[in-house]
């Protein structure tokens, strides 16, 4: 069977055309390297469903193969660090819970922990336990969103609807306590805005059972799904040492086999008083990153249950807090394990009511800077599988 010279595909036998008796089509496919190919630049975004916001990717393609990729960010840069320099510390709490809109409570935590450490404020026991519980509920809320949307990106419609079913109930619970659905602003320097409302614990206990029960749906729909596995196992492998070089944290780093989690390695709040595991992946591929997300929800639910048992009574904010918050001169880097990784704040105080400088270290920024490494040598159809599995929020990248 000799095809025509120079043509990519050649029909060799007219009797084998579709519709002809015998059916089907026999083609010669040129072996790799037979034709000279040209590199092509392809823009993806800034608005593309898999980017969860406005992120642009400039791809250098050779046919279907991605030779190089460059994320172009900054479309949502809102100058939070500059704005923080002209606001007092209470105002900054409302400011910082906006950059990662899926984990507002976790964002606030890093900042208030830092300011409290600078001022040497003793946070009441009850406030610390409530913070622990709400931080974990926020983590569940965030991870459910990504579990749903990742399925959607790979062509599975159902998980996103299931995720929103759970999210709606959890948001209702957090709204009852904080008054906000997304931007909670529940933390204050020294404690919390107010105590939990009546009936919160009962509803929280019910939701833990409900969410745990419903997690089995995701296991059947995605983790055990043959198509899902075909599209994620072995795709976008990230070695642990490279993840560290790029400063990746959270599910990305843990999927790469490194059990770094500041809740374990530098416990803050009440994390040293509860037992939980840090899930670790084996291959660092897309599937592992998704699996780590799923396991982190289970561990968060475990922590919430323990807080239910251990929550003491008492005040939620120290009795004698000054009206003007003025940390003494100095600097501190305070970090907290947020939903997507380590969210840290480098705070420089000159003794004023406004900070001299607040540097935000956000997990999505570092995770996105690693994307070119993952995409080199990947085929275009796998782009979505890789991009979706580097869970990031664009507001958290651009700040």
């Amino acid at each position: 069977m000799a095809g025509r010279e120079g043509a990519g595909v050649a029909v060799t036998d007219p009797t084998m055309l579709p519709g002809a008796p015998g059916e089907g089509i026999a083609i010669d496919v040129a072996e790799p390297g037979r034709f000279a190919t040209e590199e092509m630049i392809l823009n993806i975004g800034p608005q593309h469903p898999s980017t969860h916001g406005v992120l642009r990717m400039v791809l250098t393609l050779d046919g279907e193969l991605i030779r190089d990729a460059e994320p172009v960010i900054g479309y949502m840069h809102r100058g939070f660090e500059k704005m923080a320099e002209v606001r007092d510390y209470r105002q900054i709490i409302a400011l910082v819970n906006r950059h990662d809109w899926l984990s507002a409570f976790g964002n606030e935590l890093g900042l208030v922990l830092g300011v409290e450490a600078l001022m040497e404020v003793e946070v009441p026991e009850r406030a610390q336990w409530i913070r622990t519980m709400l931080a974990e509920w926020n983590r569940v809320l965030n991870h459910l969103m990504f579990m749903g949307s990742y399925g959607l990106e790979l062509g599975a419609m159902t998980p996103i609807f299931l995720a929103f079913r759970e999210r709606e109930e959890i948001q209702g619970l957090l709204e009852a306590a904080t008054g906000g659905r997304m931007h909670f602003t529940y933390n204050r320097i020294g404690g919390l805005k107010e105590d939990l409302p009546r009936g919160f614990m009962k509803e929280s206990a019910r939701l833990v059972k409900v969410v745990r029960h419903r997690l089995a749906d995701y296991e059947g729909l995605l983790l055990g799904n043959e198509i899902f596995k075909k599209r994620t196992v072995g795709i976008g492998k990230l070695p642990g040492s490279v993840a560290l070089e790029y400063g990746c944290t959270g599910p990305i780093l843990q999927a790469a086999g490194i059990a770094e989690d500041s809740r374990k390695t530098e416990p803050y709040l009440k994390y040293s008083d509860v037992s939980f595991e840090v899930p670790v992946g084996e291959n660092g591929d897309s599937f592992d990153r998704f699996w780590v997300l799923y396991r982190r929800i289970q561990e968060s639910l475990k922590i919430i249950e323990q807080v239910h048992d251990k929550l003491p009574s008492g005040p939620i904010i120290p009795g004698k807090m000054p009206k003007n918050i003025k940390p003494p001169e100095g600097w501190i880097y305070s970090r907290a394990e947020n939903s997507l990784g380590e969210t840290g704040y480098y705070i420089v105080s000159r003794g004023g009511k406004e900070p001299w400088r607040v540097k935000m270290r956000t997990p999505s920024f570092s995770n996105v800077s690693m994307i070119p490494y993952l995409l080199r040598g990947v085929l275009v159809p796998d782009l979505i599988s890789v991009l979706g599995s580097v869970f990031f929020v664009v507001g958290d990248v651009d700040r």
């Binding site: 900054g74 100058g79 500059k82 704005m83 560290l244 400063g247 390695t265 840290g344 480098y346």
Partner: protein
């Protein structure tokens, strides 16, 4: 760990430990890369994780450039700090030691106008191409503050 770095490199001007136990090593701009390289390559230090890099405007003194490193094996964190002049200050890039330094250095360059010698691709990252100025310098005023001063006197005591 501090003593070991001081001895091995001889490049640490002074060390600083805050009341909260956080460590900073102050170096000259010329020794910036030397100390970083030691922390990265020496098996006793093994700071494999590049956490973040940024700067602080110290007004007359210049800009303090800070890099925060972390070791996933010893669970230790360390800051390296250096002071560069306001105009034309620069340090050597760390992209040859940690690939993740690239984004952070690009951000620091556009926000403060601090140079990173040897950076392979030093172009704007977050700011738009036509944007003029370096927003995180103190002389760069927010637009609202340019229009009207903050009524600071009206605060509760």
């Amino acid at each position: 760990m501090i003593d070991h770095v001081k001895e091995a490199t001889g490049a640490v001007e002074r060390e600083e430990v805050t009341p909260q136990g956080q460590i900073a090593l102050h170096v000259t701009p010329a020794n910036w890369h030397v100390v970083a390289e030691h922390l990265r390559r020496c098996p006793r230090c093994n700071f494999g994780m590049f956490n973040w890099l940024s700067a602080v405007d110290m007004e007359d003194q210049g800009f303090e450039v800070i890099v925060h490193l972390y070791s996933a094996s010893s669970l230790q964190a360390v800051n390296i700090k250096t002071m560069v002049p306001r105009d034309g200050g620069s340090v050597r890039t760390l992209t040859d030691l940690w690939r993740g330094a690239s984004f952070h250095e690009r951000e620091c360059w556009e926000m403060f106008d601090i140079g990173f010698d040897g950076h392979p691709h030093l172009v704007k990252l977050l700011l738009a191409e036509p944007f003029v100025g370096h927003p995180l310098r103190k002389e760069f005023l927010l637009m609202t503050r340019e229009a009207k001063e903050w009524p600071g006197a009206k605060e509760p005591e």
